[in-house]
Every structure is written in C-alpha cells, then in structure tokens.
C-alpha cells in the first residue's frame, strides 16, 4: 500500500506572497531511514519540514504519510513529531511533565504515562532529571528532553529542525553519534534539516541537497560527495576546484562513464568523466576535489590523463593535512590536499612556495559537469 515509503512529497509548492519558498518538490522518504535535507539558509528545507509537520499547508501538491494524504490535516492530528531548533520545551512544566504532554493529549491512562515517561527519560539518559525545570538543564540535556518528548509518542516520522545548531562543536559531534544510534535503536524514520554538510554526511542514509526551493540531488552521502550532479552540490558539499571551459570531445568509456576532455580559456586540456556523453562545444566545468589531485616531484606514470608542470604558490600546514595552492596555466589556482602520512621524525619534507612539481590526476578522479 505505501511500499515502504514513509513520506511522499508530490509536486509540493509553498508560496509566501510573491516568494516561492518551496518550488515543485518531489521527494520520497523511506520507512526507517535517516533522511537529511541539506542546503543554505532560505533554500526551503525548513518550510518543507514545517509542511510535513503540519505547521504550514502546501500551496499546491500533495504530501502522503504512509500512503495517506495529510496535506491539509492539522498538526495535532498527524502522527508526526518535531524536535525544534530552540527545543521549545514548556518552561512552566518539569522535564517529566514536558515528556508526558503528548500522552496526556492522547488520553493515555496515568499509570501508563508514568511508566512510559520514565522509560523515555532513561532512553536519553536523563532518568534522574524528571523533576527539574528545563531551564535548570544544559543545552545538550534540553536537547535530549526534546527528543524524549517527541519519541515517547511513537511517531511514524520524527522531524528534526537543526536540533544541534545551538550546541558547541564537541557536544554536537557526540550528539550526532548518539542521534544516529538512537535512530537505529528505535527504527523510526528521521527527517533531519541542517545546513551543516558534515552533520548530514555523518548521520544520514540519504541526503537531499536543496537550493532556492528546489531539490538538486538526492542520494547517499557517498553519492552526494563523490558524484555530485551539478556544480552547486559539488561546491556546497566539501570543497572542489572548478576548471571552466568547453567540451573538446567525448572520449573512450571509463567503466560505466564517458571520458570528457575540456579545453580552458588558456588552451589547456583537462579530463574528467561524466555518466553520459556531452556534445562538443558545450560549456562545462571540471570539478576536481583537492584530495583527488596529486602533486609530486617525480613525473606521474606514463599515460596519466591529466599531467601539468606547476609552481607551488602557497602551502598551509594544518596538522593532518597539508594544503597546497598551485598555479596552473596563466591564471588558474588549484588546491591540492596531501595527507601527512609521513613519520613523525620527517618534519622538513613538505612543499615550499616557489617549488615546481607535477600536478596530475586520472580522468576518473574528476567530474565533468554541465549545470
């Protein structure tokens, strides 16, 4: 009936006056998956979440929850719960009263409520905090109360709106692992909104990258990072060098992909791959991740698709990595990251500005993008 689909968004549009906050979104979120909506502020991710929660109704399109249309069902009749960015704990109630609220609204008998509240608080390791007020707890603890308050209702989908935004970095990393573990234990579908790519990559089964009200790409973290389908996604997730030019030729196949040669304004030819052939003459961008490019003193193996003699412009040593900027051709600066895998005694073997070397990468290490 619902074919394992928890939430199905079909052509959903949300318009605020003249502004289309959400512009014809289609998205299927599977049962039991940790799904993230990732994008810069104003990309429509929070509006989409609020429409699933029922705080906003779509201007057009349909939202299905396990096969039932819920687009116009009020929030309090949807079996969906939210963890708010600001937590939105009720300040005049104790932690236990906050957690019990949902069950009280459902008229669950009091003994059962007491039982389930203590279970829920144990689950988030706040068993002894039931009688405290929210303001007496730290940010991380409030966060866990908000989780317990939502999860106690056994929602069909749990919505999380940048819930870790207010926490400091270390705590945020801990909570990321804890959240993912919790999600696996309870087996509830999590829909997570964030603008933090690392957060999304760490926790998600799948990620939807959004921009200006549209979904640009949906895929697993590796798909999103390794095979972005457009320049925005490649740029937003991680870092990348973009070498612009026009397609000189679609060359031999490399695995399932096609080799693409792009000629830059400088007259250099760079090579990458694309899942489909691209017509000669079309403007294209080569996306090259800094860690997928190599910089060596020795010449690369014979037959390397991309091989350039370059000068080192700048070197930043950041501990685990060394980040090197090299000049390619007349005006292009390419960033190369080298992992510091050398022995601890070898302190001087790093690149110096002004040195020359070979910048090279196999074609399949770079992507040719037309969007």
């Amino acid at each position: 009936m619902s074919d394992g689909i928890a939430i199905d968004l079909r052509n959903v549009v949300k318009q605020f006056g003249e502004v289309k906050a959400v512009d014809h979104i289609n998205m299927q979120i599977r049962d039991g998956e940790f799904f993230s909506m990732l994008g810069p502020s104003g990309c429509g991710k929070t509006t989409t979440l609020r429409m699933i929660a029922g705080f906003e109704y779509p201007s057009s399109g349909e939202i299905h929850l396990r096969g039932k249309p819920i687009g116009s069902t009020p929030a309090y009749e949807r079996n969906v719960n939210t963890v708010f960015q600001s937590y939105a704990l009720f300040p005049h109630m104790t932690v236990a009263e906050n957690v019990a609220f949902g069950l009280q609204m459902k008229k669950v008998p009091q003994p059962a409520i007491t039982q389930r509240v203590s279970e829920a608080l144990d689950m988030v390791r706040l068993g002894s905090f039931g009688t405290r007020r929210p303001r007496q707890l730290s940010g991380g603890q409030q966060q866990r109360v908000a989780l317990a308050r939502a999860l106690i209702n056994h929602p069909e989908v749990l919505l999380l709106d940048e819930p870790l935004g207010a926490l400091d970095l270390k705590l945020r990393k801990e909570m990321q692992i804890e959240l993912k573990g919790l999600q696996e234990r309870v087996g509830i579908t999590f829909i997570y909104v964030t603008h933090d790519q690392e957060e999304a990559l760490t926790m998600s089964d799948r990620i939807a990258v959004m921009e200006r009200g549209k979904v640009l790409q949906i895929g697993s973290p590796t798909e999103i990072y390794e095979r972005p389908t457009c320049r925005f996604v490649a740029d937003f997730i991680g870092e990348s060098n973009f070498i612009e030019g026009s397609v000189a030729a679609t060359e031999e196949r490399i695995g399932n992909d096609y080799g693409i040669a792009i000629t830059t304004a400088d007259g250099l030819t760079v090579r990458g791959v694309s899942p489909q052939p691209i017509k000669t003459g079309i403007a294209a961008t080569l996306s090259l991740r800094p860690e997928k490019a190599r910089l060596t003193l020795a010449e690369p193996p014979v037959g390397t698709a991309n091989n350039f003699r370059v000068t080192v412009e700048r070197v930043s040593y950041i501990g685990s990595d060394t980040r090197i900027l090299v000049r390619l051709g007349q005006e292009m600066i390419v960033s190369v990251w080298e992992q510091n895998t050398r022995s601890t005694l070898d302190r001087d073997a790093y690149w110096q500005a002004g040195e020359s070397g070979y910048l090279w990468w196999p074609a399949e290490n770079a992507l040719a993008l037309t969007e």
Binding site: A53, G54, F55, P74, A75, Y76, E77, V80, N81, T82, F84, S86, A88, L89, F90, P91, H92, F101, G102, M105, K106, R149, A150, N153
Partner: protein, 300 residues
C-alpha cells in the same frame, strides 16, 4: 601643613570617616524626597484615617472623642454597608472578568498584526485617555439614554425602546469601557514575551488550539493576566463617578457610600467613612497578595 606630622594611618581613618559621612549624605539626598513624599502624603494621612476610624462622629460629622469600636460594629452589622461591600466586590469581579475576556483576544490580535500596524493599534487603545474620564462617561449617558443613539438604533430596527440608562448594565458598560486599556496593556506586554513556537510544539504533541491555549499560553502569560486584573479590579471597586452618572445613583457601590459619608449626607460621618475605607483597603490588600501568589507562583 602642620597636620602632616600625624601618624600615617590617622589621616586615612579621617578620610574614611569623611567618605562615610559623604555617602550617608548622598543616600539621604537620594532617598529624602521620596521618603518625605511617602510620609507626608501617605503614612500620615493613613494614620489620621486609622485614628478617625476609632472616634465618635460629632454633630457636624467631625471626629470627636471618646474612642470607640462602634464604627466597625456598624460596618459588619448594618445591611446597607454589608451589601455595598458585596456589591462592589461583585461589580469589580464581573468588570475584571469581562475586561479579561475582551482584552485578551484584543491584545493577541494587536500582537499578531503586522509590525507596522501594531503601534497604530496600540495607540488606538490609548487614545481614550486623551479625553477627560468624566466627559467620556457623559458621552455614554448620551448613547444610553431613552432617546439616545442606541435606542434610536433599536427603534429603527423595529424594536421598542429599552431602559438602558440607570441600570446595572449601564454601570458595567461604563466600567468596562474605562478600565479596558489597563487590562490590555499588561496583557500585551506579557503576550509579546511569549514564545509562539511553544504553541506549535503543543500542537505537534497533539493539543488542539483550546488545549494548547489552556495548558501552555495561559499559564505562561499569567503575570499579565494578574497585573491587568489587579489594575482593573482595584479602581473599579472604588469607583463612584460611573455608578453615579450611568447608574443614576441607584446602584450603591462602596465609592458612592464613601463619598456620601464624607461629603453629602447630613450630617456627614467621617469616623464611619474612615473605618469603611480601611476595611476596604485591608480586604483588597490581602486579596491581591493571595491572587498574585496563586497566579504567578507556578512560573518560577
């Protein structure tokens, strides 16, 4: 100078003492005006009233010796006074309740209006203060009288003219009209600080609008409800202008009785009036303390 030959710590102690003296003068200077004001215009008159209330009324109404408890006795036994107390408290209660029922949605409406309208709407709430209260009450007489505006409307709609003026309803209308801003303003301040995300959270957890309001919004805006209620209730219970003009002096409230005891009745009776005012004050003070305790405690 010659003093310099004194031991080193001597001038220090001297300095300290002069500083302390200076601080004391400063403190006195700052507190003085307020303290003087309170003593001269609050504590002393109150003391006078307390003393009056235990004295015997003379033939002109002036308090005379000997001291007596009979004023208080009359207040608690004579029906006229007991009824006025009950009636005043009742009118105050009804006015406060109705102001709350009208004021809360009004304050909410103003807060949810677009920001540039908010100031305008709040300003509209305050505009009646620009006209003298007595004048505004006379205006209500014009509206409510037998050939007044409201009756013209009723008549035009095909119904017989009603007696509107000189009724409890007229007094209540006047009281609510006059006191409503005092309810709206503290409510506005309180609701403005309310985090409306909490209403979404309540709705998310299965509360419909009514439940979310009763369980979340009302408790959290209780300080505004409490402040507004007190600001409306206290002046209302002591009102005499409105009940005089719109109630045709038929509806006796405490304020009317007090006014009469001090000025109009023949002879006036200052000791009895003093006793009445004091009991009134006591009832209100105790009531307000209890009210604040019960309404705002749960927010701590």
């Amino acid at each position: 100078m010659a003093i310099q030959s004194a031991p080193l710590n001597e001038p220090n102690r001297e300095l300290e003492r002069s500083l302390q003296r200076k601080q004391r003068t400063q403190l006195g200077g700052l507190l003085g005006p307020g303290l003087f004001w309170l003593i001269a215009f609050f504590a002393l008159p109150l003391a006078v009233i307390v003393i009056y209330s235990f004295m015997t009324p003379g033939s002109t109404g002036r308090p005379e010796l000997p001291f007596t408890l009979s004023n208080y006795g009359r207040l608690f036994t004579e029906k006229l006074f007991v009824n006025a107390y009950i009636r005043s408290l009742w009118m105050g209660f009804v006015t406060t309740l109705l102001c709350l029922l009208i004021g809360y949605p009004l304050a909410l409406f103003v807060i949810q209006a677009p920001p540039r309208w908010r100031t305008v709407l709040l300003f509209l709430v305050l505009i009646p203060f620009w006209t003298n209260f007595l004048v505004r009450t006379y205006a209500w007489m014009v509206i409510l009288q037998n050939n007044g505006l409201l009756n013209d409307l009723i008549n035009w709609l095909g119904f017989p003219r009603q007696t509107l003026l000189n009724t409890d309803g007229a007094v209540l209308t006047g009281l609510i009209y006059g006191q409503l801003p005092f309810m709206v303003l503290p409510l506005y301040a309180s609701i403005e600080r309310f985090d409306f995300t909490l209403m979404e959270a309540a709705s998310d957890l299965g509360a419909d609008k009514r439940q979310a309001f009763l369980r979340i919004m009302l408790p959290l805006t209780m300080p505004g409800v409490a402040a507004g209620s007190v600001l409306v209730f206290i002046p209302t219970v002591g009102q005499f202008v409105v009940s005089d003009l719109l109630g045709g002096a038929k509806v006796d409230l405490l304020g009317n009785l007090l006014q009469r005891l001090f000025q109009r009745s023949n002879p006036p009776n200052w000791p009895l009036g003093s006793a009445m005012a004091l009991i009134f004050m006591l009832v209100l003070t105790v009531g307000v303390i209890f009210y604040f305790r019960n309404t705002t405690e749960q927010n701590r």
